[in-house]
Subunit: 144 residues, 2 copies
DNA sequence: AGATAAATGAAAACGTTTGTCAATTATTGG
DNA sequence: CCAATAATTGACAAACGTTTTCATTTATCT
């Protein structure tokens, strides 16, 4: 999502567009990786040394609630946030070397439809992580 | 997974089988819901008032690493743990109230096959979490 | 039963997240 | 452009969740 769209959406939702918030948005957009609030704080600080960590938390919560950034539950003790990618993707993760491959076309629509009718849930999103071994790591493990 | 199997697996992995650990396992097995370490601690305490919260954390980490219990990432600030059903299952999680529903039949074999041939990965397992709103929470949020 | 290494529990350290509140500031309307 | 006002900020501290430390206890092996 482009910078200007995010700022506009913020204003449209009745929030003020402050320099701090713009700096946070820029930093999220500029990073390819998922960042925890703490890590993001360290990065934003270089642009605006006066910013407070609390402001980062508050802004991320707002952006996340408005769907302007993506909150990731990594299983670590802290959430991470990323800019929302143009299209949905999932992850294929090598347990050996940690390499991560993004892929599209998870194709779970039929499953979602089934669960909606079975449970009454409204399904908004999902996270699908596949764990395994890449070609190189599988070769290494085959020996012992 | 039955109580005795868990105890046996613990011992087989080189861990000791202590009364505290048995109490924790019993409590996890006796509960249908996902429990955070803190909540579990409160429950175990009623069986063994002398137990320490730290022991609950340590035991859950061990059981989780050995695949004897299931760790759930609900999006809250704390993890939850559940007894692991005998067969593979995935999770449907309500972003509103945190309720978790287990379901089977994720049926992603075709996807796995595709990724194996495309990437050369050996896929061992996966985790599929669906996020949405249960019937009650969807009603509450109905606004725009 | 005795030796030994693992496990326990209490306290404290640590990191993440939220609350409080006076001071600041983006926005609105004149 | 300026003043009014309500949202936002930042420092501090509190509230959690989780891990570390360490002396003491204890399950396990012989």
């Amino acid at each position: 999502m482009p910078f200007d769209d995010i700022a506009a959406a913020l204003r449209r939702a009745g929030h003020r567009v402050t320099p701090q918030r713009l700096a946070i948005i820029r930093t999220v957009l500029a990073s390819e990786e998922h960042l925890t609030p703490g890590a993001l704080y360290e990065k934003v600080r270089r642009m605006d040394p006066e910013i407070g960590e609390v402001t980062v938390y508050r802004t991320l919560n707002i952006l996340s609630e408005l769907g302007l950034v993506c909150m990731v539950h990594t299983g670590e003790n802290a959430h991470s946030f990323v800019s929302r990618p143009p299209e949905h993707h999932d992850h294929l993760i090598c347990s050996g070397c940690g390499k991560v491959i993004n892929f599209t076309g998870c194709n779970i629509d039929a499953l979602e439809k089934r669960l909606v009718s079975e449970t009454g849930f409204t399904i908004e999103e999902h996270r699908l992580d596949l764990f395994g071994r890449c070609h190189e790591c599988a070769a290494v493990t085959a020996r012992g």
